[in-house]
């Protein structure tokens, strides 16, 4: 329980300062955006990012057939649709924090390092419910709804599965918006109550030690996105 508390505090504090990553449908295509549009805290609606750091994407069509989704070269990155399920990765890379600043570089050769990490994020959007949407895609850290979330209404609970490369992960904190709601159970599951209509973002973060000498920790975050009626 103490571990749970510390994990929650950790995620809560990190979530307070992080931006969101989400897809914005545009016609049959999808724009990958970063910012605070769906955040409970202050910040720019969208922020610029380096489109070259979008490392890969996967699109499932309405039949569940998977195909790679090629990102456009510049931000905001555009993916061609339609996709029932679309997942993309954004790897911002190494970060090093000193007493003076936080820079997007490895800690190698830097003096006075307080903390260093490697950051990778992914977002998965469910736009249409198909059987394959209820199973992990199997690419890295991921949140998967265990039922069709699209007909749900504010106040309903949704059970999701937290997995890493398709395997359930226990004990990971899961947040709804900015608010950490608990940790995944022994089967990687956790129930989240939807509290508003429109776009839904459910997020988890996995922090592990790094031994590559470029950073102390690996921080991987995954977001599940879907929309319900306003």
């Amino acid at each position: 329980m103490r571990r749970t508390l510390s994990l929650l505090l950790c995620l809560t504090s990190s979530a307070s300062f992080a931006h969101d990553l989400w897809f914005a449908p545009e016609g049959n295509d999808y724009l990958l955006l970063q910012g605070h549009r769906h955040s409970g805290h202050a910040g720019a609606d969208t922020i610029d990012y380096d489109g070259r750091k979008v490392s890969g994407a996967l699109c499932l069509d309405g039949t569940g057939k998977a195909r790679p989704a090629t990102p456009s070269p510049s931000a905001p990155v555009r993916f061609a649709g339609p996709c029932a399920v679309l997942q993309a990765d954004y790897v911002s890379g190494y970060w090093t924090k000193t007493a003076w600043e936080t820079k997007n570089i490895p800690k190698t050769g830097i003096a006075g390092v307080l903390r260093s990490w490697h950051s990778a994020e992914s977002v998965k959007r469910i736009g249409q419910w198909i059987p394959a949407a209820g199973k992990p895609l199997g690419r890295g850290l991921e949140i998967t709804p265990l039922r069709d979330p699209l007909p749900l209404q504010p106040g309903d609970k949704l059970t999701v599965l937290v997995s890493d490369d398709g395997r359930p992960v226990a004990g990971l904190p899961v947040a709804y918006g900015d608010d950490t709601r608990g940790v995944s159970d022994g089967e990687g599951k956790i129930a989240i109550r939807l509290r508003h209509g429109g776009s839904q973002l459910i997020t988890t973060t996995l922090e592990t030690p790094l031994t590559d000498g470029k950073a102390d920790r690996s921080l991987r975050s995954a977001t599940l996105q879907f929309e319900i009626a306003p």
């Binding site: 329980m1 749970t4 508390l5 709601r181 608990g182 940790v183 159970d185 022994g186 129930a191």
Partner: protein
């Protein structure tokens, strides 16, 4: 008879540091519970202990009585101290053991009584209801799960470890001041709890406490009247300081208590039993894995049997000061 037993079996995990965060009961921690459901001051709640979790518990209940000229020497005050240990056998079943120490003090010229009384054992089964239906409490619940209706059934009994034939300073035996019931007394209760909002928690309890007749060494055969309770409590999460793992909840509790007439040698005794309503305003604080509660319990309505002849009994208190502390580990 003025038995004035302590209300202890219903305490359960009410004072557990709420799950602090994410375990159901006690998230706890809940710890945890900086954001989880609140708990009553004295009544039972539906929280059960996490599997493998232990709870150490202390309660002090000090009652000060109204005094009357006709009743001299009046009962002045009574202090009921209870030590308890709880253990989460499974995510949905907790076991508890309590040991009480009673002190009953009368005015000058009266006969006091103090000592360890009957220990008690109790079990509690926790279950819940949500959109997926009824089920036993799972091992892990999110804060959103904790907002659902939670219920529990508890049952327990005292063991005759105390001294029912405790003799007062004049050598007499007063069953109302004895340190044991002589035979097991049992309790059965149900609770329901619901977070009405993210800061307001409702807790309901219905329980009964029943006694068996016992023949004292003095030859008197006594059966104390049954106690039936209906309690309701609202806890409001007013202050949360996450960096200090601290939370403070004002709590308002309403308790209805019905006590049957005591029977002595098969005959109902005058001046015993009745009905009453207590109001218990108080506060509960959570700090890391500890929880502290302080409340003042006052009778606000009474309908006692032969009320004008009762002194030093339930419903005749000036007030009761209730303090409890619990530690999860």
């Amino acid at each position: 008879m003025k038995k004035f037993w302590f209300y202890g079996l219903g305490l359960l995990a009410t004072s557990v540091a709420q799950p602090a965060f994410a375990h159901h009961g006690v998230a706890g921690v809940g710890a945890v519970g900086l954001q989880g459901p609140g708990a009553p001051i004295e009544s039972a709640a539906s929280s059960v202990l996490p599997e493998g979790g232990m709870l150490a518990y202390l309660k002090i209940d000090q009652a000060s009585f109204k005094q009357y000229g006709w009743a001299s020497p009046n009962a002045d005050y009574a202090r009921f101290t209870m030590l308890g240990l709880g253990y989460g056998v499974t995510p949905w079943f907790s076991a508890y053991a309590f040991v009480p120490h009673n002190t009953k003090v009368e005015e000058s010229g009266g006969l006091d009584s103090r000592g360890w009384a009957d220990m008690s054992l109790m079990g509690q089964i926790g279950f819940k209801y949500d959109q997926d239906g009824w089920r036993l409490n799972p091992a892990n619940e999110s804060l959103d799960d904790l907002e659902d209706w939670h219920f529990s059934v508890f049952a327990g009994a005292t063991l005759p470890t105390g001294a029912p034939n405790h003799r007062l300073s004049d050598g007499s035996i007063d069953p109302g001041k004895s340190l044991g019931f002589g035979k097991p007394a049992w309790t059965l209760g149900v609770t329901a709890s619901k977070m009405l909002s993210q800061t307001l928690t409702l807790s309901l309890e219905a329980s009964t406490f029943r006694f068996q007749p016992y023949t004292y060494d003095s030859g008197e055969r006594v059966q104390f009247g049954a106690e039936n309770r209906l309690n309701a409590a609202l806890a409001w999460r007013a202050l949360t300081v996450p960096e200090k793992s601290f939370r403070l909840d004002p709590v308002l509790e309403v308790q209805y208590l019905s006590i049957g007439r005591d029977r002595s040698n098969g005959v109902g005794e005058d001046g015993t039993g009745g009905r009453m309503v207590y109001l218990v305003p108080g506060v509960r604080a959570y700090w890391h894995n500890a929880s502290f509660a302080l409340g003042i319990k006052k009778p606000v309505w009474t309908d006692l049997n032969e009320s004008s002849t009762q002194q030093g009994a339930e419903g005749k208190e000036k007030y009761r000061l209730i303090f409890s502390a619990s530690l999860m580990f």
